[in-house]
Symmetry: C2
Subunit: 334 residues, 2 copies
DNA sequence: TTGTACGCGTTATCAA
DNA sequence: TTGATAACGCGTACAA
């Protein structure tokens, strides 16, 4: 609650110069072993914490990676977790800024910029490409867009092939015998169009009738529940439902369960993400696996590639999702 | 991707001095209306973002509030959301640091300290009081512990009365006729003991036999599933189960559903938190409501109280949870 | 092996 | 109403 300890405090305590303390703390060659030890001891005893701001100011670049994410999206939590681990491996820290209902991504990004991070990773950005491009001109380091977007000259993109992932789900349902397959579309999500197109592609190729339920909002559990209620009110149910992500699929499943509709006996359901609870023995959701650990790792890797060599052009990294078949899908009973 | 815009850039563009630009941007009296407008226009055009680090350096205090939280805990997301809203109202920003499996809270806190925030809010801190006290001496501003802890001289505490919340759930179950009530204890959570004591208190007062299932780990859905499996393997089921939070309750419910056990017909279940999905029509969980919006608001309020008047002593704010009866509880059928 | 001097972007205190 | 100057904590030349 008083003033934080500075290097000068340590120097005064030990009886050496301030910059010598700096060298010791950064483990540079020079200081004697004895000095080293005394400085480290004093730093610990006095509770020294480096001042990120001062460091960034002096170096005109920090060893922090800024991350903008939406905590309510399950998958983004997992990606963030992986970003932490990967960044730490490379000697980088992470500073988080959240997108919430009262704090839109445009402001969250503005906040992140204030820390002058070495790089900026934006997960699930709902900004148009033009704004992201503009952004990448204002930040001192590279910008990485995780989740959606396409190859471009301003920022890196790391995403899974959403169309292929949904296509895997739809094809799996067709393979086990389904014909009436509904897609629950997340129109406001940046990855929405790609995933929808995967559904359309496979349905068209199989000459099946498409039926899409559009849900607005942030596409978490409640969106799935909304879609389920719409289906329940709409007469005959399809035999299978493809959701755009696991959270919506969970909302669907729970609402159906409540209405006495059994899964997969009465209707099969698939998701996208393979999030933590999809694997829970009790949810057991068939889904397209989009490895969040890998996405986090690739995001950091893309960022640091351009931090270390600013001349490099931005790249697009697409990971292919894989189908994870679990108990929420089975051949149709009707 | 080049250098970020500074006040000096704006000053050069407009043709005035840096410090005048500073005054305009902070809306201080002095600059003429004409200057004001030209500076603001240039700032916008050049994409100026204030450098938090430089600001904190100069002022020895920032207008940011540091928040340490665990993204995997549903409730903490909601508290963070409320912190954002409340902080913004008071003119403060938020900088987030996450606790993850690879990034323990001790390091997360260390990270947060590096930003020299005006205050530090720690949600669900798993640190002993002694360490939190030590921490509050190292940070320039107040420390607020949200979720657990007791009144002390070093840091503020904001929590709900966990014992009373669980007591409400247990009493409700007894009121509708249950006698065999099991508690699923989160022994490693900081709020664990308080909630457990609420169960013990009411069971003892009603001369009922206590049965506690202990679950370690971070007490999310999988903990509930684990407890459910233990119960299923252990012979006769109780007629009601009280979980320490909603996520564990959900895990329980899902695993039971999978095993063909109906809720509430075969067994009643209660949670704690009233998190987003508890209210989902399909989950419909009876739970103790711990208003996360209120907790976030109180956390920011406690913090700013001492930021604005450092002489104030830390306080403890306890909010009483309320019982929310939904469809997961009913009189026992056995 | 250690100390001196400067600058990063910003705010604050003066004087003009 | 505006402009010069110092200082915040730190890193990095360079000199001793």
């Amino acid at each position: 609650m008083d003033r934080a300890t500075t290097m000068a405090d340590i120097a005064a305590d030990v009886g050496v110069s301030r910059q010598l303390v700096s060298m010791v703390l950064r483990d540079l060659p020079g200081p004697s072993a004895d000095t080293h030890e005394r400085v480290m001891e004093a730093a610990k005893r006095l509770g020294y914490t480096p001042h990120f701001g001062a460091r960034a100011l002096r170096q005109s670049t920090s060893t922090q990676i800024g991350v903008v994410f939406a905590p309510t999206h399950e998958t983004e939590q997992d990606i963030v977790e992986s970003i932490y681990a990967t960044a730490a491996d490379q000697g980088y820290g992470v500073v988080l800024t959240a997108t919430t209902s009262s704090h839109p991504s445009s402001i969250a990004i503005e906040d992140a910029l204030g820390y002058r991070c070495a790089a900026l990773i934006i997960i699930g950005a709902d900004l148009p490409p033009s704004q992201l491009s503009a952004l990448s001109k204002r930040t001192p380091g590279p910008v990485v867009n995780v989740g959606a977007g396409r190859k471009n000259r301003s920022y890196d993109v790391v995403r899974s092939a959403g169309d292929n992932g949904i296509a895997l789900c739809v094809q799996h349902l067709i393979d086990v015998g389904h014909r009436k397959i509904v897609y629950v579309d997340a129109e406001s999500m940046p990855w929405g169009r790609a995933r929808l197109s995967g559904y359309e592609r496979v349905m068209t190729a199989n000459r099946l009738r498409k039926r899409v339920i559009r849900v607005s909002g942030d596409y978490t559990e409640e969106s799935g529940s909304t879609a389920a209620r719409e289906l329940l009110a709409g007469g005959a149910l399809p035999t299978a439902i493809v959701a755009g992500n696991d959270q919506a699929a969970l909302g669907l499943m729970l609402t159906f369960a409540r209405a006495g509709i059994r899964i997969p006996d009465d209707v099969s359901v698939t998701g996208y993400d393979d999030s933590r609870f999809a694997a829970l023995s009790s949810v057991d959701l068939t889904t397209a696996r989009q490895d969040p650990v890998e996405m986090g790792r690739l995001a950091v890797q893309s960022a640091l590639r351009r931090v270390l060599d600013p001349g490099q052009s931005p790249i697009e990294t697409v990971i292919e999702p894989t189908l994870v078949v679990r108990g929420s899908t089975s051949p149709p009973s009707r």
